[in-house]
Structures are given as structure tokens and as C-alpha cells.
Symmetry: C2
Subunit: 198 residues, 2 copies
């Protein structure tokens, strides 16, 4: 991926699993079922082969210097336990102040109350020339709207969920043109990587 | 495609262009702009190379015995002029009766007022062992809901339209599992073919 970086700055990337009909969770997502009803089908490709999740986490740590997410993503995941798998600084965009949280293994949560652009600036300051990984629909849409997202990597699972939370909620964006960087179809998931054109 | 037919009956197939965020038209679709504002971007891949549209029509006529669509698809397209490119019998599912329409070149429009299953039966009667091609979101969703769609072929254009008509409107379906048959990525469009599992 590093050869695609066009500047000394890392790129801002959303890498997310979605149903073919655009849902990133099933309905009724809450901390005890963060992906909602039926939503675990979206992550089966990550856990089917025990080597996949460790490989994804290793790839993330090799390429990425910080993570950006919305408050809901943080709350749904319950803070990922005592030692989250990321080992990275995480910036949580929220309206409510919250003390910084330090977990074992180097994962920290910093709560940013003055908007997505401030959160991205803070993430860039610690990430240096490494990428910023964006989690969840809300942070992705805010960055797209602000023209600050560089890549969209969709892991499209062959299911229609028909209900839940969509990555692209109606009415939040304007037209955005993309360029396909790569496509990797497998029986369990099709990886489609796009560059955002501006 | 014929090798995928598992029975003497043809399969029921929706082959449709969509934005990456799931829109099959932009906003404000009407007869003078049937794809809505910004929606023509969804069909640019068909007309960029002058050989593509004739090839698609030849493939359609070689594999397909009838077309099924909703009333809105018929009205938006204005009946496709005096000699529509399909040269096939078309069955239009509608609540309002309408006299049968015969166009030059063998395209006929038969208006069916007693539901999608009746329209499919009538289409099968004329199609024999050839496929039924489904046009538009409404007919596709009705067939999916009735468990009568066999394949979904999405032509995914690298754009977020952010508004318009979605192929998968919220709340009309339940979960449907799919199987990826083939994926063909190109710079202009990524073709994803799925079998509907039942």
C-alpha cells in the first residue's frame, strides 16, 4: 500500500465490511450485539480462518499510525476490553467530554469534542507519515463530506441484510467520484478498494 | 451463461447498474431524465465504447425469452420509441389496466394487473427454457420477496450518488443469502454476479 501514498503524509482510509445492500450492521445494534441482529455474518470472513484476524491486525499496525472513530463505534465495542488488538492511539469524535483512556498494549482513546477536522489533525500529529484508519459509518461520512477521506476499502459480504445501519445514509452527502484501485473477489467476501477523487 | 441453468427452465435475472452506494437512479427521475439528476453516470460504461450496447443487446436476445418490469420502469423509458432495442415480449406489472402495445421489431408490452407471480408465469410461458430478464428496482424487490429471483448481476459504477432511488429500499425485504458466481472489475464498472440462495 505504501507505494500509493502520494505525499509524506499518510492517507485516510475507511476499511469496512458491508452487506451487498450497504448495511454495516444489522438492526438493533447495542453493546451486547455491536453488529446488530444478523450482523455477525458481516465479520465471518475475518474469523473463518484463524490466521486472518492476526494478519489484518499486523497489516493495520504496519501501515497505520492512528485510528479515528465516532462515539457510537467506541461505545458499541465496549472499549475492546483491557487490551484492545490495535496497539494504536485512537481518536474518538464526540459531543461529550470524556477523560483519556489508556489500555494495556499501547491503545489509547482520546476524546475530541471540537469536530472531525480537529480529530484528524490530532491523529496526523501522532501518525506522522503513516495512515489514519477510520472506523464506522459516522466518521466515514463526516470525512467524506469534508473532502478528507482518501480511500474507501469495502469488504462486500454476499448477503442482503435488508435492515440495520447503512454506511451511506441518505441525504448526508453529495456526489463523490471514485477510482477503483483493486478488486479481490473470494467466495466469502469481495474486497473493493477505491480512491476518492477530488 | 447457459451452462449455469440448472433446469429446463430459464433463470430469472436482474442485471442492473448501480452506484457504489446503491442508487439505480439519481434524484428526480422522470421521463425526460429517466435516470434522474446525475444518474446518466450509471450508464456511461454502456455507451463509452460503441460496441458495448449492441453486444449487451445481442447477449440479451441470445439468452433471454422475455422481460419483466414494473410500471414505473415502463413509463420512465417512454416505451423506448417505435422500435425498442429488445425485440422481446415484455410483461409490465401494474395496478392499472392498459391495452397491449406492439412495437416494430417484435417488442410487445403486456400489462399484468394480478401480481408479480402471474406476470412471471406469463413470461415463462413465452420464454420457454430461456431466461427472464428483470428491469428496475420494484420488480426486482417483488421477486426477491417472493423467492422467485435466481440471479442478481450488479454493474457497480465507481461513484457515490448520495440521493435517488435505491435498488434495495429499506424495510421491503428480509435477509437473503447470496453466492458470488463471478466478479469482473474494470476501470469504468465492476460486474458482480450473484446466485440467490434459498
Amino acid at each position: 500500500m505504501r507505494k500509493e501514498v502520494r505525499s509524506p503524509m499518510g492517507i485516510v482510509v475507511t476499511d469496512i465490511s458491508t452487506s451487498l445492500d450497504g448495511y454495516i450492521t444489522g438492526p438493533h445494534d447495542r453493546p451486547d450485539q455491536p453488529l446488530g441482529e444478523d450482523g455477525t455474518v458481516l465479520h465471518e470472513w475475518i474469523f473463518k480462518d484463524p490466521a486472518t484476524f492476526p494478519r489484518l491486525m499486523a497489516d493495520l499496525r504496519a501501515s497505520t499510525g492512528a485510528i479515528l472513530m465516532g462515539r457510537r463505534s467506541y461505545e458499541l465495542a465496549g472499549g475492546w476490553g483491557d487490551e484492545p488488538p490495535f496497539h494504536l492511539p485512537i481518536f474518538v469524535v464526540t459531543h461529550r467530554t470524556h477523560d483519556r483512556v489508556e489500555k494495556r498494549g499501547g491503545t489509547t482513546f482520546t476524546f475530541v469534542t471540537d469536530g472531525i477536522e480537529s480529530a484528524l489533525r490530532q491523529a496526523r500529529a501522532v501518525a506522522g507519515d503513516r495512515n489514519i484508519a477510520v472506523h464506522g459509518g459516522s466518521a466515514t461520512r463526516q470525512l467524506l463530506r469534508a473532502g478528507l477521506l482518501d480511500e474507501l476499502r469495502l469488504n462486500v459480504v454476499p448477503v442482503l441484510l435488508a435492515a440495520g445501519n447503512r454506511l451511506f445514509e441518505e441525504g448526508e452527502l453529495r456526489r463523490v467520484d471514485l477510482e477503483l484501485i483493486s478488486a479481490n473477489p473470494t467466495p466469502d467476501v469481495t474486497h473493493l478498494h477505491y480512491r476518492i477523487l477530488r
